[in-house]
């Protein structure tokens, strides 16, 4: 070995696309804000930047769900590889669970189990990324869609959610944005980050618009049932006759177990449109190449769903509602902050920052960085002047 290590030339390097993509993500923002925290501050950090109340005792998951997984592990029946769409008992359990709130039965064949909702996003975005295609995302949005789209080099176009209209989708904007290369529109309901719930009528209009444009609807319903205001949660699945819908969900939010990594992607396509277009085949191909949810969590699904009582959900939802109300009331007392719409769903709300009332704070990122440093509190900067915060733990603080 004669060569000088310092002069050694290596032929490999980083994929720049990865760096650009991850910088769009929440973790990147959170990591940066966390680096502003003052190590000398003895107070506990208040983490309101992401939606994960599971560390807090008041949001402990249901014991029945825990026991269900313990049983699955002890049975020794769930240590094996799973098929790419999940094991039959899990697919069936999820199909039945989702069908409870629908006017029709979902077939287990249409349910694909994923490693959390995030993997469903990863697989879908990847499958849609054909050369030249574009996808419509809401603004404000859940940044993971942006990251994954950037990684697949799928062009993103943003349509607005209108704060003056309760965060409804700007449908005229959607029509103006779409062209013949647009493949899908993402709708997050209940909405992360805005905290609103779309009405039945509005969802129907979105479906009709998508149908007219010839595009898929990706219905991100990971916060399904997190509706505590006046509007009940309605699934986009109800409009699958109008337009092909791919519905995403998980146990992460309702059971407060994001760490268990069990989600689903449900293809609702009564007229076989996805099949005829070849898209279903592509989804299958990508699923075949991708990792799967832990088999023992899948195996526990029938009991997780079957044994968790309704009181667990209703009592937790009541707590979430109280947090939201408390947060909203307190925020309204702070002059430089306005909350355009009272939160009625999900775990978040978007608030507006009135920079003109603040000295020496240049923008929302600056606000959040200083807040982290001075008050050991983490909230997430939005685009321009709006930022989001999770109201869940605010009750405790």
């Amino acid at each position: 070995m004669g060569d000088n290590n310092g002069a050694k030339q290596w032929n490999f390097g980083a994929n720049e696309v990865v760096e650009r993509s991850s910088s769009l993500g929440i973790r990147d923002y959170l990591n940066n804000l966390m680096s502003n925290l003052d190590g000398q501050d003895k107070r506990p950090v208040i983490p309101l930047g992401h939606g994960d109340p599971s560390p807090f005792p008041s949001f402990r998951t249901d014991q029945a769900a825990v026991e269900a997984i313990c049983d699955a592990v002890r049975s020794t029946k769930f240590n094996n590889y799973s098929s790419s769409s999940g094991i039959p008992v899990a697919r069936k359990a999820v199909a039945e669970y989702l069908s409870r709130d629908l006017s029709y039965e979902i077939s287990p064949n249409d349910v694909h189990i994923t490693v959390g909702c995030l993997q469903a996003v990863e697989i879908l975005v990847s499958a849609l990324a054909t050369p030249g295609a574009n996808i419509l995302l809401p603004r404000p949005s859940y940044p993971m869609y942006d990251s994954r789209a950037a990684l697949c080099q799928l062009e993103v176009r943003y349509f607005d959610l209108l704060p003056e209209n309760g965060w409804d989708v700007d449908l005229d904007g959607v029509q103006a944005l779409a062209d013949d290369k647009t493949v899908a529109i993402v709708v997050i309901n209940p909405c992360n980050p805005c905290g609103n719930v779309f009405s039945y009528q509005h969802l129907q209009k979105i479906a009709e618009t998508a149908s007219k444009l010839g595009i898929l609807v990706i219905a991100d319903e990971v916060y399904d049932h997190f509706a505590f205001g006046d509007k009940p949660f309605v699934s986009m699945a109800e409009f699958a006759e109008i337009v092909p819908v791919i519905m995403l969900g998980a146990i992460s939010k309702r059971w407060f177990v994001p760490g268990w990594r069990l989600g689903w992607m449900v293809t609702l396509d009564p007229h076989g449109i996805m099949k005829d277009s070849g898209f279903s085949q592509t989804l299958t191909s990508v699923l075949n190449m991708s990792t799967d949810a832990a088999t023992f969590v899948q195996g526990a699904m029938p009991d997780i769903i079957g044994n968790t009582k309704e009181e667990f959900f209703s009592s937790k939802l009541e707590m979430v509602k109280k947090c939201a109300e408390f947060c909203y009331e307190e925020l309204m007392k702070i002059p430089c902050i306005t909350c355009p719409c009272k939160p009625e769903g999900s775990m978040f709300t978007m608030v507006k920052l009135n920079l003109s009332l603040l000295e020496d704070i240049s923008d929302d990122l600056d606000f959040c960085s200083k807040l982290a440093k001075e008050e050991s509190m983490i909230i997430l900067p939005g685009n321009n002047i709006v930022f989001l915060m999770s109201f869940l733990e605010s009750f405790n603080y």
Binding site: N5, S54, L118, L151, A294
Partner: protein, 464 residues
């Protein structure tokens, strides 16, 4: 074995029952709109190389009319067989963590620190250059590790060197991330040693890495210290990293000891992929790791480490349950548990090789000493009307409900791979059926006696 018994009930084996009817495929009448989304060529191309396609095709050739249970020996998942049940300590670790309530939250992209530390300690037992927790990145299974590493290395015109025969998931993910694949040979005449000259011949300035699988799937050999050192030196000379897939590091039953490639990290940067799936027989638990063996800090300066970590930030994680259980699982790693499992595999190998002695057209040139497969070579010249390994396997499935993997799926034409990570009686049954099949399909060689017989009037012509 009765029809009713299905020890592999959880194995991915399609049943004979018809699958549920497809959704109505009639497109909406009067729909004047054009649907804008469609299939992706890239996905199609990448997924055609996976094993699933071949295995399902072979299952499709099995039939209820052949009154024998399907023997699925083309793909491997020992976890469904009671004799390969995982250790009680591993199960305990998971149950304890669940009951503690401390595994329900999101973790950081690279994995939770206690798990990373536990993996570093576990690997450091055999490494001179000690790893820190920061050098360990957790993945949702070793396969996801492959996906993430390839994506993080992909650049325009980059190529990667993969072994032939190999593990098709590498080809699929390389294709999907846009990396060009170049194959180097494992030499059957040299006990599957790596063709180092071949590597030097195919590498160029766009080559980023060479993938080495040790212990080797599908060949079953374990590379020697000296051979691995030569690989490291060759890689260094070419300016490429070594990606060492060591997922079978605890599945060894021969005499050659396992040597981690990380031992040569001062010669060349080594990226190790491994996990607990094979060692503990829990592929469904979906946890693996990437270990950056790199005392010279090359992965840092070239930003590869950063790229992988950033990728992990936007990619699904292994469940926090299994991450939290990992320290206890690794600390309690029991030599006896591994020995017991490996003994069964050795016995299975000996059994198959013994039975193969009576089957001239299928032979095993090198007994495997690791992993859960046995590679055999087909002597097609002895056979009647079977032109290649795929046809052999299709006919075998059709006539005997016996599924082996044609070597072509791994890049080895006219070889055949037998899964040995199964219950011994299944192998007994399989070899019986194989013998029957081969006997039926062996060319009838005419001897002088026989041709003499043929010229005599046949008995059949004599009627009473």
């Amino acid at each position: 074995m009765s029809e009713v018994e299905q020890p592999h009930a959880n194995l991915v084996v399609p049943a004979f029952e018809k699958t549920e009817k497809d959704n109505k495929t009639q497109t909406q009448k009067g729909q004047s709109c054009v649907w804008r989304f469609g299939g992706s060529d890239k996905a199609e191309k990448a997924s055609t190389v996976t094993l699933r396609g071949v295995i399902y095709m072979l299952f499709g050739n099995c039939s209820k009319d052949v009154k024998k249970t399907i023997l699925p020996l083309g793909h491997g998942d020992p976890s469904v067989y009671p004799c390969f049940r995982t250790s009680i300590e591993a199960e305990d670790a998971v149950v304890d963590v669940l009951r503690s309530g401390k595994c329900n939250s999101y973790g950081p992209g690279a994995g939770i620190l206690p798990a990373r530390r536990a993996v570093a300690d576990y690997l450091n037992r055999d490494l001179p250059n000690k790893l820190t927790p920061e050098d360990i990145l957790l993945t949702a299974g070793c396969n996801q590790g492959i996906e993430i590493v390839f994506e993080s290395l992909a650049r325009p015109n980059a190529n990667i060197l993969l072994p032939r025969p190999g593990f098709p998931h590498y080809d699929a993910r390389a294709a999907y991330s846009g990396l060009e694949v170049r194959k180097y040979d494992l030499l059957p005449e040299k006990e599957w040693d790596i063709d180092l000259e071949g590597i030097e011949a195919i590498a160029d300035e766009n080559t980023v890495a060479v993938v080495v699988i040790n212990p080797n799937n599908p060949c079953g050999n374990v590379y020697s210290h000296d051979h691995l050192k030569k690989v490291a030196e060759t890689a260094r000379k070419l300016g490429i990293m070594v990606i060492s897939d060591e997922v079978y590091d605890q599945t060894i039953f021969g005499d050659n000891p396992f040597v981690p490639m990380g031992k040569f990290a001062s010669i060349v940067p080594v990226l190790t992929l491994a996990g607990i799936s094979k060692g503990w027989v829990v592929p469904g638990w979906k946890i693996g790791w990437i270990a950056l063996n790199d005392p010279e800090g090359v992965f840092e300066t070239t930003k590869v480490a950063q790229s992988i970590k950033q990728n992990l930030d936007i990619t699904p994680d292994p469940s926090t349950i299994i991450q939290a259980a990992l320290p206890a699982i690794l600390e309690k790693a029991d030599k006896n548990f591994f020995a017991k499992k490996n003994k069964i595999l050795k016995h299975n190998v000996d059994l198959v090789c013994d039975r193969l002695k009576d089957i001239p057209c299928v032979f095993c040139p090198k007994k495997p000493e690791s992993c859960t497969y046995l590679l055999t070579k087909l002597e097609l010249s002895l056979m009647d009307n079977i032109k290649d390994d795929t046809e052999f396997c299709v006919k075998l499935a059709r006539e005997e409900n016996l599924v082996f993997l044609p070597g072509e799926a791994l890049g080895l034409k006219n070889w055949m791979r037998i899964t040995i990570g199964v219950e011994a009686h299944m192998l007994e049954d399989a070899l019986e059926r194989l013998k029957g099949f081969c006997t039926r399909h062996t060319k009838k060689i005419e001897t002088d006696d026989e041709s003499l017989q043929a010229s005599k009037p046949s008995d059949n012509n004599v009627h009473v």
